[in-house]
């Protein structure tokens, strides 16, 4: 079976600065992959390479079996939630989803949009402009836009950042539902409990390199402190301390 995401020596350089340095990783279909790393580690650059928004300097990467250098082929299979919700202030939530449905030529879009608005508890606000939405509502609308076309691989950049507990729970449940339906989720976040709860595998990026990868439990066991948490692992491999 072709892995949902596979990279070999994936690198990105900006001039002399190495943003991502030879990443090797494999994410199986239907897995939730938790992508961790401190600010500036290269997470967003990696996601941009995997979503075709930027070209790798070297190395190989495939998403849903397609080379990431082939944008038209890759984007058919993916959904992407950038860190900042990609919404026009002047549009209503429904219009935003209609726009994305139009761009992607989603069939039976009206029913799909109505279903997603209902699922994300946005139906009542659907015909209000998004500049009047709370951060959680914007994030939920953006996630709805990212999964509108039922992508095989979903890239989420900080999907629960700044959300209230109820909205965060809706997002977590959605990710779990998607994974249960065999959607592969590439989840970049700083919120470690979310990764612990949802991720099948975890990768920790530090200064452009993948410094740890594996199941959350096995990583935690490997932590120097022994039997620690994902936070211990994170701090240990990113130059901090695992001791509390």
């Amino acid at each position: 079976m072709v892995p949902a995401i596979e990279t070999r020596g994936l690198s990105k350089q900006y001039g002399r600065t190495v943003a991502v340095d030879g990443i090797d990783l494999t994410v199986d279909t239907g897995d939730v992959f938790g992508f961790l790393g401190p600010n500036g580690a290269g997470k967003t650059t990696t996601m941009r390479m995997l979503t075709t928004l930027t070209k790798p300097s070297s190395g190989e990467a495939t998403v849903a079996g397609e080379d990431v250098r082939d944008r038209p082929a890759v984007v058919e299979h993916i959904g992407y939630l950038p860190e900042e919700p990609p919404l026009f202030d002047e549009f209503t939530g429904r219009e935003m989803l209609e726009y994305y449905a139009g761009l992607r030529d989603v069939s039976e879009a009206d029913a799909r949009i109505a279903d997603l608005l209902e699922r994300f508890d946005l139906a009542d606000a659907a015909d209000r402009r998004t500049d009047g939405y709370s951060k959680g509502m914007k994030q939920k609308t953006a996630i709805a836009a990212a999964i509108l076309h039922e992508p095989e691989v979903l890239f989420l950049d900080e999907p629960t950042s700044g959300l209230d507990p109820r909205a965060a729970r809706t997002v977590r449940e959605t990710i779990a539902d998607l994974a249960a339906a065999d959607t592969t989720v590439f989840l970049s976040t700083h919120i470690l409990p979310v990764v612990e709860e949802l991720a099948d595998t975890v990768g920790v990026l530090y200064e452009g390199s993948l410094v740890a990868a594996g199941a959350p439990e096995s990583l935690a066991e490997r932590a120097a402190s022994g039997g620690g948490t994902l936070e211990d692992v994170f701090l240990e491999v990113t130059g901090g301390t695992g001791e509390r």
Partner: protein, 533 residues
């Protein structure tokens, strides 16, 4: 009101504004260029002041006070105009919540008032001081220079808080008066159009003249007596001017601080046209893709452009800029009371330019935060650019043709010229839009600029604007030269050889189509290959 805190606020804000300009190379260059023109104007004004003084000394001016009364009122209006436009443009002060939880509203407003004095003074004081000195020198009367300086300073000290207060009062009215709050976008657009109309037609004198004349018979006119007191100003009115400055300035200042405080603490009423919380779903009916042979993604881009254009017209603020060049024929038409033949010809240049610029001149940057979503949607460069081109052309091309037909019909331009230029518009509009997309996609601008009252918009890059404008001018030049009254005889002979004029129009159409085709290909591949680095 705490003066010490006010000084601190003023100093910090002044430093912030200076850095905002000096940190932005483009603004700095624009300031330097403007400064050169201003410097030349100042030298001219100082020279005029000197010769004015000479004329007073030699008794060449029969009644200098009567002449100076409107000038005094003019200073009040001019300073007021500058302060008003600046204040209305600035919007809410930065970090307002932080400031208002640290100092009182009047203290904050005091700081901002000091900044206004500092900034207007920075530009005006050298002119005022040297101009007054030159006036006194010309009149060979140092006292006259001194009284002139005192009068102008008095007017300036009064004008700043007076008009700043008026600007705050307007803001308060637009925030709290339902009828104004509801239609503030429409009123803003109407005001902008009127402002542009006055500037392009050169009718500022006839608009402001009656206002200045009316002010001249109020105490504002007394400052002329103060300035010319050593010549033949009335001592009573001169003293009155000093009294007005001494009493009205602190009163206006106090009122300004109160009004600012009221504005900053006002709960704005919702505006119907742009209410963030208002339900704005509209039935779009059958999609345009059902009526036109275009793909659904292209139709989605067209709809998106129209919606954003209608709901955020401020994003199209650059489109009327070239109207400045239409000023002379518009002014001539206004003065003559009939449409001059040049107007439909220039309309045939501007309309395709505007249609092309409206939705295509920054096709990537205009997406803002939505750009990653658009790029990864799979829409593809060709369909995306086609949507942008159609968004402008579907509405703009027929409108442009109608505009030229209407102007041509009521002007001395021949019927054949009118028809040729209208037909050219139908071809030039989509071609211009495609050419614009080529420039905009190659030279995208993704940085938002503050356009009006803290409202930010991502405008096309100046280089795309310039390059695109040049191409439109080059493409339209043969037709324009063949039909423009001043050049038609040079191109097509005295009677106007219709074959030459028709050929020139055809040549324009061919150049436009080629430019559009090239632009489209460049734009489509730029969108396909766009990288977010």
């Amino acid at each position: 009101m705490n003066r010490r805190q006010g000084y601190l606020v003023g100093r910090a804000e002044f430093r912030r504004r200076v850095r905002a300009v000096t940190d932005d190379r483009r603004q700095l260059v624009a300031m330097a260029i403007t400064g050169l023109f201003v410097a030349v104007g100042m030298v001219g004004a100082i020279a005029a002041a000197y010769f004015g003084g000479v004329a007073v000394r030699e008794g060449n001016i029969e009644d200098p006070v009567s002449l100076a009364e409107p000038l005094g009122a003019g200073v009040l209006v001019f300073v007021g105009f500058i302060v008003l436009v600046r204040e209305m443009n600035q919007g809410e002060p930065p970090a307002l919540a932080g400031h208002l939880t640290t100092v009182t509203g009047p203290t904050l407003a005091f700081g901002y008032l000091l900044v206004e004095y500092a900034i207007t003074g920075l530009f005006a004081l050298p002119l005022v001081v040297f101009g007054s000195f030159a006036f006194g020198l010309g009149a060979a009367d140092p006292l006259l220079g001194l009284t002139t300086l005192t009068a102008i300073l008095g007017l300036w000290l009064l004008a700043v808080p007076l008009w700043k207060g008026f600007a705050y009062a307007l803001q308060y009215a637009f925030a709290r008066v339902p009828a104004l709050a509801r239609h503030k976008t429409a009123i803003g657009i109407a005001a902008f159009v009127a402002y542009m109309g006055v500037l392009t037609t050169g009718e500022a004198d006839s608009v402001l003249g009656p206002f200045v004349s009316a002010l001249a018979v109020t105490p504002a006119g007394w400052f002329a007596h103060l300035a010319l007191f050593p010549v033949d100003g009335s001592p009573t009115l001169a003293a009155g001017a000093l009294g007005v400055a001494a009493v009205a300035t602190p009163l206006a200042g106090a009122a300004t601080l109160r009004l600012a405080d009221a504005v900053w603490h006002a709960d704005p009423l919702p505006a119907d046209e742009s209410d963030a919380g208002e339900k704005t779903h509209e039935s779009t009916g059958p999609g345009i893709e059902a009526r036109l042979p275009i793909s659904r993604p292209t139709a989605a881009v067209v709809r998106r452009c129209w919606r954003r254009g209608l709901r955020a017209p401020i994003t199209l603020v650059y489109v009327p800029y070239p109207l400045f060049f239409m000023g002379p024929p518009i002014g001539q038409s206004v003065a003559a009371g009939e449409v001059v033949a040049a107007l439909p010809v220039l309309g045939a240049l501007y309309a395709p330019w505007a249609v092309g610029a409206a939705f295509s001149l920054n096709p990537l940057g205009d997406e803002g935060v939505v750009l990653p979503g658009t790029i990864t949607s799979g829409v593809g460069g060709r369909r995306y650019v086609a949507g942008r081109v159609l968004a402008g052309s579907l509405v703009g091309a027929p409108l442009a043709a109608l505009l030229v037909l209407a102007l041509g019909a009521v002007s001395p331009l021949s019927l054949s010229g009118t028809a040729a230029l209208a037909a050219l518009c139908l071809i030039a509009c989509p071609a211009a839009a495609a050419a614009a997309a080529g420039f905009g996609a190659t030279l995208p601008n993704t940085d938002a600029s503050t356009v009006f009252r803290s409202r930010e918009a991502v405008l096309p890059s100046p280089w795309a604007f310039l390059g695109y404008s040049l191409v439109v001018v080059i493409a339209m030049a043969p037709a324009l030269l063949a039909w423009y009254p001043a050049t038609a005889s040079l191109v097509a002979g005295d009677g106007g050889d219709i074959a030459i004029q028709g050929g020139a129009t055809l040549l324009s159409a061919v150049i436009a189509v080629i430019a559009g085709g090239v632009g489209f290909r460049i734009a489509a591949s730029a969108v396909d290959d766009f990288e977010m680095n």
